[in-house]
Each structure stands twice: as structure tokens, then as C-alpha cells.
């Protein structure tokens, strides 16, 4: 008779799936995430994969990972260190063991621990046998051979069978964490609808993994994580890139303007182009251009012709688009440039995250070339910031840069889906009357009229040469240039009246404010919550508007004795805050191509506050 297995209740768990880049770890991770979201946990994910598509199997640099943090409470990060590591081969174990929490669970695919793979992973002896993983709770599972056995009566080749082993591992993890199989079974049905033999095989592998957990003596305990108490509503899981694409789709619907994307594929931004290219029944036009420059300049052409025009890219592409953005500044056309930041400089770390394009975004053009810069804070926030960037671009007739990053782009979280009528109305009107029309006549926001080709009687010319104020004719007049430089600057500065104040979470004044921007929101928030639990008094504020800053920013800074700015760069926001507000700040800069570990931020906070945990 089977022994009744113990069920342990956990508040939160961090799991990391790791294997060869061809092992399907991203798929396994995202399936586990979707199922976990569907059972009501809050969650946050961190896919971490190499830039090579199929790096040689068995190597350490070819290891692909997917980390997932889920809980019964509100959470904000994909977790610092995993509690559970699923290692499909020795290289995956080697690469990830250091990160695993002391005493954590390791589930290994023992079949992959042969001499060849051990050598590739640079192990001199087998870590499963030499005692080097003592201190961890290790479960040795021959995943590959168990999968083969489960699929022995199928018509699949040995190679095809081998590719099903990630479903076995997934099934086992579903058993271990008490998750239902149905969502993945349904996904298999849809995904492989044209190849019934794969439906059959993957279903069998998934079930076999689950049943193995149930039947084997190896596992004595399984875990549950109760659903989180999230606000009422209908939810879905969303990644930053999909949220960005949906945000611009929503902006198109809410503005009443057709959406035009000029784009060139680049990691990690290509998915935005991929998603938008599906939305054709909304009339979305996606132009996969010959290069980054054509992406932005075609978008500028589309803006001139009256579309809601956007272009998406990552750091190297933003550099290439720079001259085009200057053209949009001069011609004062609405345009949103999405920069999904990645590790740089140059090709850098294409699949990793970074926040080092802030200075490039605000200042990286020749001439006095002001551009509003916004940054999304979480994967789902990309949706709202896409709408906000569109609103500002259209209302102020200006290019706007929206910053996201590799972590937000690929990470996902549950998202309470908004109703369309709850989204802001950002409708705009083209200028159509002949009376009072001049291409550079400005309204109360210093915004010029948008008169589009096809409108009779309003034929006019614009371009990159300096414009005479009002008429828009070419002008080399020194005083006019000075005036126009200031007008463009004032226009962008004036957006400050139209954006929300910077909010402070926690004490409104005190010893320490942790000030962040963009994709570090989750890590900072969780760090602040943790140190508060230990009795420290610390406040938090997060900037989503980087140019201009919210109007109360300077005043907020004066209320705190210390300002800590954690950034995944060498201090770009710090530099701007110092120069704008003449205030000293403390920097925390870790540039590893990965999100902050909350422990790093917590330690820095404690270091600043010393023993001042006043609450105790």
C-alpha cells in the first residue's frame, strides 16, 4: 500500500527550471507559470536564456533557465534564490547550484549524468556521488529513461521521445506542488492539433511524471501554496512585451487613429512586432523595415500622414534611430519609440536586462533636442505606459521614448484585465480649417496643428531644417533659432502640468527614501517590505516619468535625510538627480545583466540606516 504523503503548506516558493537550450525549459517554465496563475497564486517570472539559439548541448554556456516565484501573498520579484532547482543535466546543476538556497530541493535528471556530460560541465567526478551536494535535499529521477518507458508503445523516434522529457519533469513538478494538469493538457491539444501523435506522447509524458510523484517512494512530501488574495476581477498572465503591444493597440482604439509600427527585429524587442503583426483585424499596419533607420523614418512618414506611429527597438537600434528622432523633434510629429533595454554597450548582452539607456534616451541626440521619456515599472504596467506615451505624443505633437527592459519584456505576472471604458480617452482631431492655419502655430500646450496630406487647402511643407516660428518656412535667422530652441524645450517641460505627482510610499518624511525608476520597481518594493518587517523605517518612491520629472520631485527629495537610488547601470538617474536638484544621493549599482536581488537592496538599506530599526 502507498504511504500517505505529507502535504506542507508554503507561503511562497521560488522554482528554477534549468536545462540545455534545446530542452524546452522556457516552455516548461511558462506552462508552470500559467497553471500557477490559474490556480490563483501571485507570481513573477524571470526567463534567463543564452543568446545562442541552440548552443552545443551539455555545455554550461548553453544552459537555459526559467525562474518563477509564486505565493499566497502579493509579490513583486521573480525571487532572489530558488528553493527548488530542476536540473536536466550536469551543466544545469553546475551553473545554478550556487544560487540555490541552503538546504534547497534539487531534482536531477540522472540519465544525463554520464561521463560525456560531466566532462562538458567540467565536473571531475559525479556530484551526485561525490558528496558535493550534501546539504541539499536531492531527488534523483531518471527522467529520460522514465519518459522513454512511458512512450515505448508510441510510433515516435528515440529523438522525438527524448524531446518529451520536459513534459515528464513538468508533470512531476505539478504533482510536487499540487497543481492541476488540465491547463497544460488543453494547451497540448491546441498546440499539436495537426500532429495527434505528439498530443498523445506529450500527454503521456506529462501524466507519467505526475504519476511517478504519486507512486514513487522517493518523494515523501508534497507542497501547496494557497491562492493569493488579489483584488476581484478577471485575470490573465501577461509579459511586458505583450502588454506593450496590447497597450498600443488600446491607444489606437482610444485615439481613433490607425496604428503604424515601423520596426526591425532585435532582441529582446522583436516580440512587440510579432504580436502587433497579428492584430490585422484592428487595421494595425506593421512594417518590417530593411533596417532600424527605415523603421523610425517610415514611422515618421506615417505620423506625417496621420497615423498613430510607433517604432520599437533595443539599445543598439535606439542608437541607429537617433537622427530620425531628431527629425521628429524638429518636425514636431507624434511618435513613440519603445526601447526594450538590454545589456550594452554594442551587442553587449542581447538576452539580458539593463537600465543603462536612460542618458541616451534623455540626452542622446545632437542639438537641443528635448524628448519626453517614460519608463514602465512592471510587465503589466507596460500596457498603461504605452497608452500614456501615445497620449503625450499626440497631445504635444512630439516624439516620446518609452523605456522597458529585458526583464519586464520577458517576465510575466498576473494582470487584472481592464475594461476598455476604464481606459483614458486620448482622441485627437486633425486640423482641417483653412482659417488660422499655419504649420507652426501653437496652441496653449505649445503644440502645433496636425494637418494631414489629403486635406484640401492646407498643403504645406515641413522638414529637418530650422523652421520659422508660426509659418514653418525654412529660416536661418539667429533670433528665430534661439526662440525655436526655447519653444521646443518649453513644450516638453510643460508636460509636467499634465503628469501625476511622485508618490511616496511609507513615511512622507524621514531618514531614507529609496528612489527607483523603471523595471526595478518589483525588487525595490519587495526589499522595502522586507526591511520594514524587520522594523526599519524606510520610504519608497518610483519614477515613471523621467523627462520631465513630476513637479513635486525636488520637494519630495528635501523631506528625507538620505536618498538611495538603486539602478542597473553606473548611476544614470543619480547623475541627473544630482544635477537637477543639487542634492546628494547614495548609489547602488549592480550591472550583471540580471534584475536586482532583493537581498542586495535590503543590505544597502540596513547599511545606511545602521541599527536604526526604530520599530523594535
Amino acid at each position: 500500500m502507498l504511504k500517505e504523503k505529507e502535504v506542507k503548506n508554503l507561503a511562497e516558493v521560488t522554482v528554477r527550471f534549468a536545462g540545455d537550450s534545446g530542452d524546452g525549459m522556457q516552455l516548461t517554465g511558462s506552462q508552470f507559470s500559467d497553471t500557477t496563475a490559474a490556480v490563483g497564486n501571485d507570481l513573477s517570472t524571470l526567463p534567463d536564456y543564452p543568446a545562442e539559439i541552440r548552443a552545443p548541448s551539455g555545455t554550461i554556456y548553453g544552459v537555459s533557465g526559467f525562474q518563477l516565484h509564486f505565493s499566497s501573498t502579493d509579490i513583486h520579484t521573480p525571487g532572489d534564490r530558488p528553493d527548488v532547482l530542476v536540473a536536466m543535466n550536469p551543466a544545469a546543476l553546475k551553473k545554478n547550484l550556487d544560487e540555490l538556497k541552503p538546504g534547497g530541493i534539487i531534482i536531477v535528471n540522472t540519465d544525463a549524468f554520464d561521463s560525456k556530460n560531466l566532462k562538458l560541465a567540467k565536473y571531475e567526478s559525479n556530484p551526485l556521488e561525490d558528496g558535493s551536494i550534501k546539504g541539499y535535499e536531492v531527488y534523483q529521477v531518471p527522467v529520460a529513461s522514465l519518459t522513454s518507458k512511458a512512450l515505448e508503445d508510441t510510433s515516435l523516434s528515440q529523438k522525438e521521445i527524448s524531446r518529451c522529457k520536459n513534459f515528464f519533469a513538468l508533470g512531476l513538478m505539478y504533482w510536487l506542488f499540487n497543481r492541476p494538469l488540465e491547463p497544460t493538457l488543453h494547451w497540448i491539444q491546441v498546440k499539436f492539433r495537426d500532429t495527434p501523435e505528439f498530443i498523445d506522447a506529450n500527454t503521456k509524458a506529462l501524466n507519467a511524471g505526475y504519476n511517478f510523484g504519486e507512486m514513487t517512494e522517493v518523494f515523501t512530501t508534497r507542497f501547496t501554496v494557497a491562492p493569493a488574495k488579489l483584488p476581484k476581477g478577471i485575470y490573465r498572465s501577461i509579459s511586458g512585451n505583450e502588454a506593450t503591444a496590447l497597450g498600443f493597440l488600446a491607444a489606437s482604439v482610444k485615439s481613433g487613429l490607425p496604428l503604424f509600427l515601423g520596426s526591425y527585429p532585435i532582441t529582446p524587442a522583436s516580440e512587440i512586432l510579432q504580436y502587433l503583426s497579428y492584430y490585422k483585424n484592428f487595421g494595425v499596419k506593421t512594417f518590417q523595415a530593411e533596417d532600424e533607420i527605415a523603421g523610425v523614418t517610415a514611422a515618421i512618414g506615417a505620423a506625417f500622414a496621420g497615423n498613430l506611429a510607433i517604432t520599437n527597438t533595443s539599445g543598439p537600434g535606439l542608437a541607429l534611430k537617433t537622427e530620425g528622432i531628431g527629425l521628429a523633434v524638429m518636425t514636431e510629429l507624434p511618435l513613440v519609440i519603445i526601447n526594450v533595454q538590454r545589456g550594452g554597450p554594442s551587442t553587449g548582452l542581447p538576452t539580458k536586462t539593463e537600465q543603462a539607456d536612460l542618458l541616451q534616451s534623455i540626452y542622446g541626440r545632437h542639438g537641443e533636442s528635448p524628448v519626453p521619456v517614460l519608463a514602465a515599472a512592471t510587465p503589466s504596467d507596460c500596457f498603461y505606459m504605452a497608452i500614456e506615451a501615445s497620449r503625450i505624443a499626440l497631445k504635444y505633437m512630439t516624439p516620446v521614448i518609452l523605456l522597458t527592459d529585458g526583464y519586464l519584456a520577458n517576465g510575466s505576472e498576473p494582470w487584472k484585465i481592464p475594461h476598455v471604458n476604464e481606459l483614458p480617452d486620448i482622441s485627437v482631431k486633425y486640423w482641417t480649417q483653412k482659417e488660422g492655419f499655419a504649420p507652426y502655430n501653437r496652441d496653449e500646450n505649445l503644440s502645433r496643428p496636425w494637418a494631414i496630406p489629403g486635406t484640401p487647402g492646407l498643403e504645406h511643407r515641413i522638414g529637418g531644417l530650422e523652421k520659422a516660428n508660426i509659418t514653418g518656412n525654412v529660416s536661418y535667422d539667429p533670433d528665430n533659432h534661439h526662440n525655436m530652441v526655447k519653444l521646443r524645450d518649453q513644450k516638453v517641460k510643460g508636460i509636467v502640468k499634465d503628469i501625476p505627482d511622485l508618490e511616496v510610499d511609507g513615511d512622507q518624511e524621514g531618514d531614507l527614501l529609496v528612489l527607483g525608476w523603471g523595471g526595478t520597481y518589483g525588487a525595490i518594493t519587495e526589499s522595502v517590505i522586507k526591511v520594514r518587517e524587520e522594523g526599519y523605517r524606510v520610504s519608497q518612491a518610483h519614477l515613471k516619468y523621467l523627462n520631465p520629472f513630476p513637479k513635486n520631485t525636488g520637494e519630495v527629495l528635501t523631506r528625507f535625510n538620505n536618498i538611495l537610488i538603486p539602478e542597473i547601470n553606473l548611476g544614470q538617474l543619480s547623475k541627473i538627480i544630482r544635477s537637477e536638484f543639487l542634492t546628494p544621493v547614495i548609489q547602488l549599482n549592480i550591472v550583471r545583466g540580471l534584475p536586482f536581488r532583493t537581498s542586495d537592496i535590503q543590505n544597502k538599506i540596513k547599511e545606511i540606516l545602521g541599527g536604526k530599526n526604530n520599530g523594535r
Binding site: 483584488p231 483585424n281 533607420i293 522638414g463 531644417l465
Partner: protein, 345 residues
């Protein structure tokens, strides 16, 4: 009682297409002729309203063109005119979109955009003002400058090989390709109209004289003394004849073209190649494209090739219409909630 007003279509004139801006090209520049012929031709374009015309340009002398046309205009940045124009056309396919560009703008810094606009058959009309020199930057050699040319940046003569613009357009699959001369106003007008009528990417190379930095570059093709022997006017379905008395003809000899005198006893007009603008194969037009560089052969002007393919902008519109018909007009509310969702109570 004049209570009835006749709705009359007012025929526009060249003046209607002239903007109020002073034209600032050098006196004697070939660009004046191109501007004048465009302004003279446009009133004759059938079915194109003035407000639907957009001129787009890059950087260079010729790229000032849009400022002088009383239509919509966009003066872009160096090399990017074709890309900007593509965006304009895709955003609103009803527009008639024209590109004014030079040899440096289109073939050097903008080469990539040019070949891809051709390949995609975007419905643009590209007028290349080819003067074989950089004028606005004051006299550096260009990608169409002949080898050995002495300029400010090639004081000992240029060592690189020039592009053959027509051949480049052919290789990039442009669907309408023509060449004309700034000084032959009738022919220039005719080519502008032919380009306007073509559905798809129309490329017109205009040999344009730079009076300051490359004066007389195309003199041989326009000068009374020399033009008959050096310029071949291509006419569809007509034998390719040239010379003062049309006594010389082009004969296809194997895969080579050669000049024959039809009055000589061995030859007759039947030996002369008959021009076919509509030949689907690009091989024949390629032979013609290479004539300009061969000193034994005259340089052809006229329509090299015209073929018909669905345009890129039509393809985009058709696909949207097709997907709308299949999936129904997009409904954002439904779409947002259509993913795998769960409810929290």
C-alpha cells in the same frame, strides 16, 4: 437670376503647383528644369488631386525640391526619403507619393532604402537627380562619378567604380524604370507622366547638370553637335535607331549589342532590335542598362522597362481586408478578455 452655380472642374496650371518660397538653386542648375517640367506636367495628371500629392526628399541640392512645390511636402534626413515615403504611402494609400533625391542621397547613404522600396514595389515615384557629384557639400565625388574623376576628395582621380542606377533598380526588381535628360524638356515631361501613371514603384533617372561642380557632364547627350550620335531614344515597339538621319541601329549579336549602319549593304532595318518595354525578363533591359558605360554604344533614354505586379501597399491593404473578413472587425474589449483567463472573487 444666377441661382444656379455650375460645378466646374477648374483645370490647374503650372502656377498652382508653385509654392510661395524663393527657389535657391544656383543659376543655370538643371534642377530648375526638373521643377518646371514637374509643375507643367502635374496639371495633366488624371485623377490625382493636388491635396493628395506628397513630395518627400532627403538631403542634397535636389532634396530642397518639396519646398518649391505647392503640395504636401516633407524634407527628411540624408538618405531616408524612400523610407519616409514608404511610411506615408502605407499610412494612406490614396496619396500620390513622390521622392526627389540625388545620386549621393539615394545611392550612397540611402542605398538600402532604395533597393528595398524597389523590391517591395511600394507605389512611389522616385526622381533621381543624377549629377554625378556632391553639390551641396561643395564638390566631392559621388557613387555615380566615373572612375578617375578628379574632385576635392579625389585629387588624384577616384579609384572606385560607379553604380549604374538603372541596373541597380533592375536588380532590385523595380517595376518601372526610365531615364531622361534635364535639358530635353519634352522628354522629361513625358517620363514624369509615364511615372505618374505607373501603379507601383517608378524610378526615373534624370541626367542633371551641376553648373558649379560638374558642368557639362551630360553635354554629349544634349549638345546639338553630338546628341544624335550619343543618345538613343527608346520607343516601345520601334526599332532602336539613332544618328543624324536615323541611319544607325542597335543589333543583338549573341549576347552583345553592337551598332550597325542600316544603309550599308549587309544590313537592313530588319536587323535592328525592336524595343520592348514590357518584356517580363529583366535580361533585355539589363543589356540596355549597360550601354551607357560602353563608349561604342549610344546611351539610351526613355522607358527601359515596365512590368505589373501587386504593389506593397495594396498587398498590405488586401491582407487587412482579408483578415477582417475572416476574423471580423477587431473588438478590443473582447480581445483583451480572450486569453486564458481566471476569475478572482
Amino acid at each position: 437670376m444666377a441661382d444656379k452655380v455650375e460645378a466646374k472642374e477648374v483645370k490647374l496650371t503650372a502656377k498652382d503647383f508653385a509654392s510661395d518660397q524663393d527657389v535657391r538653386w544656383c543659376p543655370g542648375c538643371g534642377d530648375y528644369s526638373v521643377l518646371a517640367q514637374v509643375q507643367r506636367s502635374f496639371p495633366d495628371l488624371v485623377g490625382i488631386k493636388k491635396e493628395d500629392i506628397v513630395w518627400v526628399s532627403g538631403i542634397g541640392c535636389s532634396s530642397r525640391f518639396p519646398y518649391y512645390m505647392n503640395t504636401y511636402g516633407f524634407h527628411g534626413i540624408h538618405g531616408r526619403a524612400a523610407a519616409i515615403a514608404t511610411g506615408v504611402k502605407l499610412a494612406n494609400p490614396k496619396l500620390s507619393v513622390w521622392v526627389a533625391t540625388g545620386d549621393g542621397d539615394l545611392l550612397s547613404i540611402g542605398g538600402n532604402h532604395f533597393i528595398h522600396a524597389c523590391r517591395k514595389n511600394v507605389d512611389l515615384k522616385i526622381l533621381l537627380f543624377n549629377n554625378r557629384i556632391y553639390g551641396l557639400t561643395k564638390g566631392q565625388y559621388s557613387p555615380t562619378s566615373e572612375q578617375g574623376k578628379i574632385t576635392k576628395t579625389t585629387p588624384y582621380g577616384s579609384v572606385d567604380y560607379p553604380f549604374r542606377a538603372i541596373s541597380l533598380a533592375l536588380g532590385s526588381r523595380a517595376t518601372f524604370i526610365a531615364r531622361t535628360l534635364d535639358r530635353d524638356v519634352k522628354h522629361l515631361q513625358a517620363m514624369i507622366k509615364r511615372a505618374a501613371e505607373h501603379k507601383g514603384l517608378a524610378f526615373v533617372e534624370i541626367y542633371q547638370n551641376c553648373v558649379i561642380y560638374n558642368d557639362g557632364a551630360f553635354d554629349i547627350y544634349t549638345n546639338k553637335e553630338t546628341k544624335d550620335d550619343h543618345t538613343l531614344y527608346l520607343q516601345h515597339a520601334k526599332p532602336m535607331l539613332f544618328g543624324k538621319n536615323k541611319e544607325k541601329g542597335i543589333k543583338l549579336d549573341g549576347t552583345k549589342l553592337k551598332v550597325i549602319n542600316i544603309n550599308e549593304s549587309d544590313n537592313s532595318i530588319n536587323d535592328v532590335l525592336v524595343h520592348d518595354e514590357f518584356d517580363e525578363s529583366p535580361l533585355y533591359a539589363t543589356l540596355l542598362a549597360f550601354m551607357a558605360e560602353n563608349s561604342d554604344l549610344p546611351t539610351p533614354v526613355g522607358v527601359f522597362r515596365q512590368v505589373f505586379r501587386l504593389t506593397y501597399d495594396e498587398g498590405v491593404e488586401n491582407q487587412i481586408a482579408h483578415i477582417k473578413a475572416k476574423k471580423g472587425e477587431g473588438d478590443l474589449e473582447k480581445f483583451l478578455f480572450s486569453a486564458n483567463t481566471w476569475e478572482v472573487n
